[in-house]
């Protein structure tokens, strides 16, 4: 990214996560090309982008599931590019993957305990389990059931709770509201914001519900075709016309309405 796009005042908040020119691909297909982004300690950042833009790929590259072709990833000032995913988690980064990925044949409780695998302190873990049971009472109700038998939304709650169990310094959230009821979607974001405020946990959020994401986050990036095309404070992004139209769905009916005519995005 060129310097002009650097956020104002970016220099003094210490970036906890720093991606420089990262390029990742699946076989011959390049999924992200030269992505640079920073997340500062204690902030909530979000990445917006349409289908297949490469959001998930960015998160996977950060947590070491994909090795980038080029570029570097730094976490807490240390290089973690292409490290073993487990080692990265142990540094305090936890990832809520796209599509839930629970352990289907373990009980809900064991799933949560696995979330806390990197932690040694049993008492603190037990306390945290109670906390997440507080967030999602249904999990407490089903604590001995196999996670694979939960409904889609319940699994999503479990996936989020499991990541919280690691008491991380940075959480990567990939579409946390996927398949959650409107009420729970809102609650999830409240929890995210609360964790960020109360524990100071840094959060990098990928979300299709841009309205929620832009309201809950401090800073946003817009990704198109594997490139970052726009970045700014969320307050600013919320006011941009393109964002309004393509991500927030606020449009004059005359523009699109019943006619299926797609307006070109101006930044392409």
């Amino acid at each position: 990214m060129n310097a002009a796009l650097q956020p104002a005042g970016g220099a003094d908040g210490a970036p906890i996560l720093n991606l420089q020119n990262v390029e990742s691909s699946y076989g011959p297909i390049k999924a992200i090309r030269g992505v640079s982004l920073q997340v500062r300690r204690g902030e909530v950042a979000t990445v917006l982008g349409s289908n297949g833009a490469g959001k998930t790929t960015i998160l996977k590259t950060i947590s070491g599931i994909i090795d980038p072709r080029k570029g570097s990833v730094q976490f807490c000032g240390q290089d973690i590019t292409a490290h073993d995913p487990a080692a990265i988690v142990r540094r305090g980064l936890s990832h809520v993957p796209e599509g839930r990925e629970v352990f289907p044949l373990l009980s809900v409780r064991d799933n949560l305990l696995m979330g806390a695998y990197t932690r040694g302190d049993r008492d603190a873990v037990a306390r945290d389990i109670e906390t997440v049971y507080g967030y999602f009472p249904i999990l407490a109700e089903r604590k001995d059931q196999d996670a694979g038998l939960l409904s889609g939304g319940q699994q999503q709650m479990l996936a989020i709770s499991r990541a919280l169990m690691a008491a991380p310094t940075l959480i990567l959230l990939d579409e946390p509201s996927l398949g959650l009821s409107p009420r729970l979607t809102k609650e999830i974001f409240e929890i995210v914001v609360r964790i960020n405020r109360e524990r100071g946990t840094t959060i990098l959020l990928v979300e299709q519900n841009a309205n929620m994401a832009l309201n809950a986050s401090d800073y946003g990036y817009v990704l198109e075709n594997g490139r970052i095309v726009m970045e700014d404070r969320c307050a600013v992004l919320r006011e941009k016309d393109d964002i309004k139209e393509f991500y927030l769905g606020m449009k004059e009916d005359s523009v699109r309405g019943e006619r299926r005519w797609k307006k070109k995005k101006t930044w392409r």
Partner: protein, 291 residues
């Protein structure tokens, strides 16, 4: 009386199957692959003990401990060198890999000049001792197998059920990706599982040696342990033992009461019948996919 003696023989033979099946189940639970090399690891363990005792002249117990340790190390190395590179590939690849490993191990042992092609007896202190229980006779070798099987089963069961490590192994076998996301060192746990499996195999090999002798093809008994594991339910440790006992007893009884030929196929007939009635074995989990 006759029946009782047959039952006892069947049970002790069943314990042998169970003991080998434990190794299968262990690998299956921790990595969700089926190791066809388990029998060969057992053979290697027995040869290891043999070399330590006969060639290096170690005392029995030290040799036993040393060969279990050596085999554990070997299992870890094996995982590191050949299995880890394909970690994450479909389970079937690993199955083929273990078949390959089995071939290589058997071949390599056979290649040792003047040693590998021969059958050997392992000098154990309890050789030729028998316990008389009223009119029943039980060889000390068989008692050793029964005892070791029970102990190993309890230990492994406790590990998978109650320790964080054991649960994490199961977690990584169910969903490797998620296990990485949780910071579970999947590779290291896999190594550990293979190490454990090799150690269990070594125990089995050493215990079996006085009964079947040590030779390059002794691992083929593993083919009988598969049905044992399946009858019990492949993912279940107590199931492996129960399955082993069921098969041992049925073999023993059918050898006596049924026409010739049934003893040798009893294990396979039982496993087919069992699978028709209970497709997941006696103690296997009922698996439903929720969509």
């Amino acid at each position: 009386m006759q029946f009782l003696q047959l039952l006892v023989s069947g049970l002790s033979q069943g314990c042998i199957y169970g003991l080998i099946a434990l190794g299968f189940v262990l690998i299956y639970k921790a990595t969700e692959t089926v190791s066809f090399a388990q029998g060969e690891l057992m053979m290697l363990g027995a040869f290891c003990g043999l070399v330590l005792m006969k060639l290096l002249g170690m005392p029995f117990w030290i040799a036993v401990v040393a060969s279990i340790a050596a085999m554990a190390l070997f299992g870890v190395l094996l995982e590191r060198v050949v299995i880890r590179p394909i970690l994450g590939q479909p389970a079937f690849s690993v199955v083929m890999l273990t078949i390959g490993i089995g071939y290589v191990l058997r071949g390599l042992v056979t290649m040792i000049p003047g040693f590998g092609t021969d059958t050997h007896a392992l000098p154990v202190p309890y050789k030729d001792e028998a316990v008389q229980l009223g009119p029943l006779v039980l060889a000390a070798e068989q008692l050793a197998v029964i005892a070791a099987t029970a102990v190993l089963c309890v230990l492994l069961y406790a590990m998978f059920r109650y320790t964080r490590l054991g649960v994490a192994m199961q977690a990584s076998s169910q969903n490797q990706l998620a296990a990485y996301y949780m910071g579970i060192p999947v590779q290291r746990l896999n190594g550990l599982a293979w190490g454990l499996a090799a150690a269990v195999a070594a125990v089995a090999g050493l215990l079996l040696a006085p009964i079947t002798f040590v030779h390059a093809n002794m691992g083929f008994i593993g083919l009988k342990a598969f049905p044992a594991a399946v009858v019990g339910g492949f993912g279940s440790l107590p199931g492996a033992i129960v399955g082993g006992l069921v098969i041992g007893v049925i073999e023993s009884l059918s050898g006596f009461y049924l026409p010739e030929g049934f003893k040798d196929t009893a294990a396979y007939i039982v496993v087919l019948l069992m699978l028709m009635v209970k497709p997941n074995g006696l103690f296997g989990e009922r698996l439903v996919k929720k969509v």
